[in-house]
Amino acid sequence: MKLNIDGLLVYFPYDYIYPEQYSYMLELKRTLDAKGHGVLEMPSGTGKTISLLSLIVAYQKAFPLEVTKLIYCSRTVPEIEKVVEELRKLMEFYSKETGESNNFLALALSSRKNLCIHPEVSSLRLGKEIDGKCHSLTASYIRAQHHGDPSVPVCRFYEEFDSVGRQVPLPAGIYNLDDLKDYGRRKGWCPYYLARYSILHANIVVYSYHYLLDPKIADLVSKELAKKSVVVFDEAHNIDNVCIDSMSVNITRRTLDRCQNNVDTLQNAIQKIKETDAAKLKEEYRRLVEGLKEANVARETDVYMANPVLPDEILQEAVPGTIRTAEHFVGFVRRFLEYLKARLRVHHVVQESAPQFLKDIFDKVCIDRKPLRFCAERLRSLLRTLEIADIADFSAVTLISNFATLVSTYSQGFTIIIEPFEDRTPTIANPVLHFSCMDPSIAIKPVFERFQSVVITSGTLSPLDIYPRILDFRPVTMASFTMTLARTCLCPLIVGRGNDQVALSSKFETREDFAVIRNYGNLLLEMSAIVPDGIVAFFTSYVYMENIVASWYEQGILENIQRNKLIFIETPDAAETSMALEKYQEACENGRGAILLSVARGKVSEGIDFVHHFGRAVIMFGVPYVYTQSRILKARLEYLRDQFQIRENDFLTFDAMRHAAQCVGRAIRGKTDYGLMIFADKRYARADKRGKLPRWIQEHISDGSLNLTVDETVQLSKHFLRQMAQPFRQEDQLGLSLLTLEQLESEEMLKKIAQMAHQS
């Protein structure tokens, strides 16, 4: 249907629209008009993606000079594929309605692992191996060698692309990863480099967060994207953690040992090259004197590792003299390495700031700040000069040099924590140096500054105001939309007590309490008897889950549960978990029924959807607080308090509640879906916890369902499940939660939508 969104003609590829989609588009339009940033929350399964796409595409068509590009960032490859499929549907609708062929180019981009079509390289399993192998076939010096000596292998796909591909732009259309691969195969071009090249002139790019947020990758891929782009971060409730992870470095003894090997290899290589081709090193030296600017104009394939910080001025300067020659630099790295080794030989925990660390390193081994800053850049240059093909081996020394550059560049927002052993195993020495970023805004700041509109959206962003604070930006629109429903298909219940009136809680003091564990077991047992098909249960951590499950086993609760349903358990091992997941789905499919025990913050809680019968109930055992004894967390909390005036408790609760919401939100993936959401902890009943749940969950929590016993929960659930089992068809939604164009344009509905937007 064709919609009129605040004066903008929007093509919407479906015959029906949800009212919240309409208001979502209104808000989005406002954000784009203001050329500002926005934070929008809308429940999953209400068509966020298509609303975003249809509005922004319409905007691009209407104002081609205002918005030139849409950069859609998603988390996983399946999600990326889903977005592209929606886009394809939209574009088909466009060409059907307007009758003209489209000149839109949209494509997905992923790593080499998903795009490589080279028969040998793509058969490798690990992403790192593929990257390394690819580099060894496409690096410029390899290709130069190939020129002289054709026996040196190169990638024919890249060669083909390099010689022809660049002149002919990718024809307009929608390309998902497979389409790119097909196209690449047909033409004999490398799809990965084709995609990377094509995003420069594509209208819509769909890729992973990391291509924008992780400075090491962003520099390679997203450097030349136009300022007039709209950036969308979908499923962005964890964006702060992504930012932090991309800037943090962990160094263990093993890293250092491997780094030592790397350095030795480098040394040998330098020796060898000195004997055979001393001119090369001289040439490099000359280049470094002239500054990195020129060195940076390298071929794209060489840029295997980028500088993790890249403030522009660094590129203008010349590399300091102390590390200009190759031997000196290797010696320098060696010295730095020895220093780190010495630091790791501590017996107590050390925490210091970056300036402290720099001062200490200057005092002890006379390493200045400036050469440290150039470490990453210098290593890159050296590796290129030495023509080392298999770069994957050098990940350790790369890591160390990244660390050196980061620690000397940022004086604020980072902390260094050296722990001699893990908290859980205080007897086993396993020293780790955490160089931890505490300020997510450091990584995302360039994005906010560079692009005119950045939209952060997800199903669970509540409370909305905290994201602008921790990411340090000022949004022009902030809105939370709820799900309009023709029937109440979600049923959040807070179970506060067992049948014996013992308060249920996962808080530290009662964690080992027998009565609590037994009552949790009873809850699961009773639910397993009344909920059809699949139940997903989340625990706060693996340790807690292990304890509880062991205890249930001893008490015979597990055995009773197994009479009703099969039990599957998520483990930290990805292969094991996906196996369990597969079997779980099979059991739900054929009527046996199953329970999946998993962990909040785990793989299951983040990426797996339990539609319809795969998740008729989600039980959240306890409040998933992050492990508060961790020193990194403590440092971060302190930083948040000092810099952003966010109290520790507020942040912890916010973090716990967003994960809880993520977990329970797994069950509802659309309006025809239904599911129970059981919060088994009495702390959820408190206003400060409950108030941080997303609005679409909150508004269904009635006062009557705040502090239930297990029995009451069972009664309410039974009733709910019976209600929901009644036949429900699309026609029943019409006019209430699903609108045709006429209904949408009716006076009454517009008023109602305006009302909805007001509340947020």
């Binding site: 023709a486 109440t488 009479r563 054929n590 009527g591 046996r592 508004e699 009635s702 019976r722 009644q726």
Partner: protein, 371 residues
């Protein structure tokens, strides 16, 4: 005009002229009609759910189910879940007892409406399926078996696969022109199957066996798929247990009679005063309305519109085929009878039969069907 005078009469106050009132409508407050529509006092949208249910009920009455058409000769296996979950007390006194009780009524009703059909009963418990009764056309046998089954213990898990394959074994030998059906009354939420049930569903589809499911607890995915694939009625789950007829109550007709005033569950309710009666026809003791059921009305309907007498004419005058339209026999008598509406001719025997028993002209009906 009429309306305003009506108001004036009933309320005793004078209603103002309507014109200025309408002109000021936008000056009034917001009319939040959507709120009135949907939310009940607890803020939930339960009312709308009921509304939806009600509408679909209506629909079921108005239009028959598109995908399902019941045949004349039916072979039906009823699978009764006798697993542990049947001991649940949410249906009083427990699920098993009430299910079996209703089954008795069902069997009677079934044979009443499908006199040339057969029914068989299978129970499933402890991962096994057993035949309670074979396919047979005699209601008595089934009812005695059902009565006996009340005392059986409910243990273990049901097995959909086993009970379906047990039913298939017999049903697949039934002739193709009869309809083969399975009705499952499913109380448990799990099933213990020895093999992949989806294979079985495929075989049932090829055998044209239709499966319908009545769920007692909640919607189970495999049942939904089962009914959808085999073309049965969509899985029906009992909605709420607080129906009026779930509460035992006295019948009005028993109140004044001294013979034992038993409590009964079902019954007929007077549409005016909601008094309950167990038997019809009866005159309501409270409001005096005559209460009858639809079949009663149908049976007496023809008296209202009696079939017109056929015109008698000598056989010599009749043109065309000398066959009776009804019995296809030769017209041997000296006079024939023709329907004034469709001009079909009948012999004297058929004329009598039509007027005494059928009350409608078969040729007219046939003509209506054809068009």
């Amino acid at each position: 005009m009429l309306v305003s005078s009506y108001f004036a009469d009933t309320s005793g106050t004078v209603i103002m002229d309507e014109e200025p009132e309408r002109a000021k409508r936008w000056e009034g407050g917001y009319e939040r009609t959507w709120e009135v529509l949907k939310e009940d006092e607890s803020g939930s949208l339960k009312a709308t759910v009921e509304e939806i249910l009600f509408q679909s009920k209506r629909k079921r009455v108005i239009e028959s189910h598109g995908q399902v058409r019941l045949g004349m000769m039916r072979h039906l296996y009823v699978v009764i879940d006798c697993s542990r979950s049947m001991e649940d007390h949410d249906l009083k006194p427990n699920r098993l007892t009430s299910t079996l009780k209703l089954m008795e009524a069902f069997v009677e009703e079934y044979f009443d409406q499908n006199p040339i059909s057969q029914v068989g009963i299978i129970t499933t418990k402890n991962k096994r399926a057993e035949k309670l009764t074979d396919l047979a056309g005699n209601p008595k046998k089934h009812i005695t078996a059902l009565k006996k089954a009340v005392d059986s213990v409910c243990v273990g898990e049901p097995s959909l696969y086993n009970s379906l394959s047990l039913a298939i074994q017999t049903l697949k030998h039934m002739p193709g022109h009869t309809s083969r059906e399975i009705l499952i009354i499913f109380s448990s939420l799990t099933t213990c199957d020895p093999a992949n049930i989806y294979e079985l569903i495929k075989t049932m589809k090829t055998l044209k066996i239709r499966v319908s499911v009545i769920g007692l607890s909640a919607e189970v995915r495999v049942c939904t798929v089962l009914t959808r694939e085999t073309g049965g009625f969509p899985q029906h789950t009992i909605a709420s247990l607080a129906d009026q007829d779930a509460k035992p109550s006295f019948s009005m007709s028993h109140l004044d009679s001294s013979s034992d005033p038993g409590l009964s569950l079902g019954g007929y309710f007077c549409p005016q005063c909601h008094a309950k009666y167990t038997e019809l026809p009866v005159e309501c003791k409270i409001c005096g309305l005559t209460l009858v059921s639809a079949p009663h009305l149908a049976r007496s309907f023809h008296h209202l519109f009696p079939l017109e007498a056929f015109t008698e004419s000598p056989v010599e005058e009749h043109q065309g085929d000398r066959f009776c339209q009804a019995c296809q026999g030769q017209l041997k008598d000296k006079s024939v009878f023709s329907c004034p509406a469709c001009r079909s001719v009948f012999c004297v025997e058929c004329d009598l039969f039509i007027h005494d028993s059928l009350h409608c002209c078969p040729a007219c009906i046939h003509g209506q069907c054809a068009t």
